[in-house]
Amino acid sequence: MGSVKAELLRLWKWPATWVLIGVWLVMTLTFGYVFNYLALNGGTNTRSMSQQQLISAMQPENVGAAVVRGLPMFGGAIILVLAALAVGSGYGWGTWKTTLTAGPRRVSAMAGTLGALGIVVVLLVALTFVVNLGASITVASLEGWDWSLPGLGVFKALGASLLIAAMWTGFGVFLGVVTKGPALAVGLGLMWAIVTENLLRGVGSLLGPVESLTKVLPGGSAGNLAGAVGGSGAPGVLTDLSGTTAALFLLGYVVVFVGAATFLKVRRDLV
């Protein structure tokens, strides 16, 4: 408990936490509402989205889908960066050394980091939901649409969002521990989340086995889960797997990333 409190205190007061959350909220508002609103009011619609589709994407009742569709790629990348920085920076600052000589077992220290990151990520998803809901109600009111609050189905979308966020958090933590620094962890993570999986999908159109593989890679699984709970129209969202299959793969990744990071943290010398 002390480890979670300690980590939470330092993450809470870390400007990087709020900068990344802020950037993500601005992105989700800009791409989810501002551009759609402008397109709806006289923009040049080259994506051949019908007016009805634009309106539907901004309706308050569809806010769950709006939250989850951003997470497989760009939201995930932001979360990965946060986790990789939070864990990797400790090696350069020497704070892991301070943490591991403070008293708690290494497993407890790692659990503290994961627990605090988990709380921050839950907060990020909650803020995304609140901000999206606020934006959608604002747009609906401005446009004079009939609107209603999201139904119980929103919890499914939020649950999927949390699972996707947990996977990217675990991935970032794993990279931070493996590379023992923030720069390489962030670089590799972003490369994977934004470039590598997309390149593999491109190769997949030529090679069948690669195509099958891309569906179950971390980003692919996240995209498939987002697609299964109604997220659509955003980069990285897929509809190749069922929601259950995608969720099971994501759970597997969480276990593997967190387990491997903790194992390395416990076993490796800190020199």
Binding site: K13, A109, L270
Partner: protein, 286 residues
């Protein structure tokens, strides 16, 4: 004994960084862990704190295995410079560390007061001078009133005033009965502060004793004329250039003997080996 190690060894590949080190630190003493850079001091200390696992041998810290919560909660440490979050204030950094050690607000303020950092506790750590950073490191080590304080090169990078401040701080802690294991390559520092010394070179502990014992018996230097006659008169003396060296005895008696034999005595003074001389002899030989 507060710390004991038995043939503690750490190898990286074929290279033994720490080679069968057996040392002991007694309760209430300031133990100087002396050695040149790269001798194996920090690796030994990291093994005592559980940060590095030994290849072979064993260690006990306050009767516990190194790195266990029971041991760590009774030890405060500062290893190779302080590790703190640059964006947090000194006080917040201590609060984070205190939360891990189960220490409350009062403990944080007491530690800040002990190292004279209360006035600057609200400033960001990254704005601290090197001396302030080191003092904050000592404050963190003092949280929870540990039974053993391990300070690894606490004066590294400090200016002379900062070094003097740090020495005063360690002296003050020692005066309160705090057991301190102080690693350093600064001989003057160790000579001034420490009760006992362990000398490590190339991974091996080559000596462990009090500073006095390490220096060996003090001697007298005598310049006299004629030197040969004085040499014959003073039993056990040895000739070194134009002077005699003799194990320290009553100088007055020796002078009387020489004067009575019509020998001119031109200089008599104690001749003590400094720790530096002893250290270079030892580490040179190692």
């Amino acid at each position: 004994m507060i710390v004991t190690t038995e043939k503690l060894t750490k190898r990286y590949g074929d290279r033994a960084v720490v080679d069968e080190v057996s040392l002991s630190v007694r309760r209430g003493e300031v133990y100087g862990f002396l050695g040149p850079n790269g001798a194996g001091k920090t690796t030994t200390i990291r093994m005592l704190l559980g940060l590095v696992k030994p290849t072979s041998g064993s260690a006990r810290v306050l009767g516990e295995a190194p790195g266990t919560p029971r041991a760590l909660l009774k030890v405060g440490s500062l290893i190779e410079g302080p590790g703190f979050y640059p964006y947090l204030s000194g006080r917040d950094n201590l609060r984070v560390h205190a939360a891990r050690r189960g220490v409350g607000k009062t403990g944080v303020e007491a530690a800040l007061e002990q190292v004279d950092l209360v006035g600057a506790a609200g400033e960001k750590f990254r704005r601290y001078s090197l001396g302030m950073k080191q003092r904050l490191g000592v404050a963190a080590a003092l949280l929870g009133q540990p039974e053993l304080l391990i300070l690894d090169e606490p004066t590294n990078g400090l200016d002379p005033a900062g070094m003097a401040d740090m020495r005063d701080l360690v002296r003050a802690l020692a005066a309160q009965g705090q057991t301190v294991l102080l690693s350093s390559h600064l001989l003057g520092e160790v000579e001034e502060i420490c009760d006992r010394v362990g000398v490590i070179a190339q991974g091996r502990l080559i000596a462990e004793s009090t500073v006095e014992q390490l220096r060996g018996d003090s001697q007298l230097l005598i310049r006299a004329d004629p030197l040969e006659k004085a040499h014959v008169l003073i039993e056990g003396s040895t000739v070194h250039g134009d002077a005699l060296h003799v194990r320290e005895k009553d100088a007055g008696v020796l002078v009387r003997v020489l004067v009575a034999a019509d020998v001119d005595v031109r200089e008599v003074r104690p001749l003590r080996r400094t720790l530096e001389e002893v250290f270079f002899e030892m580490t040179g030989a190692a």
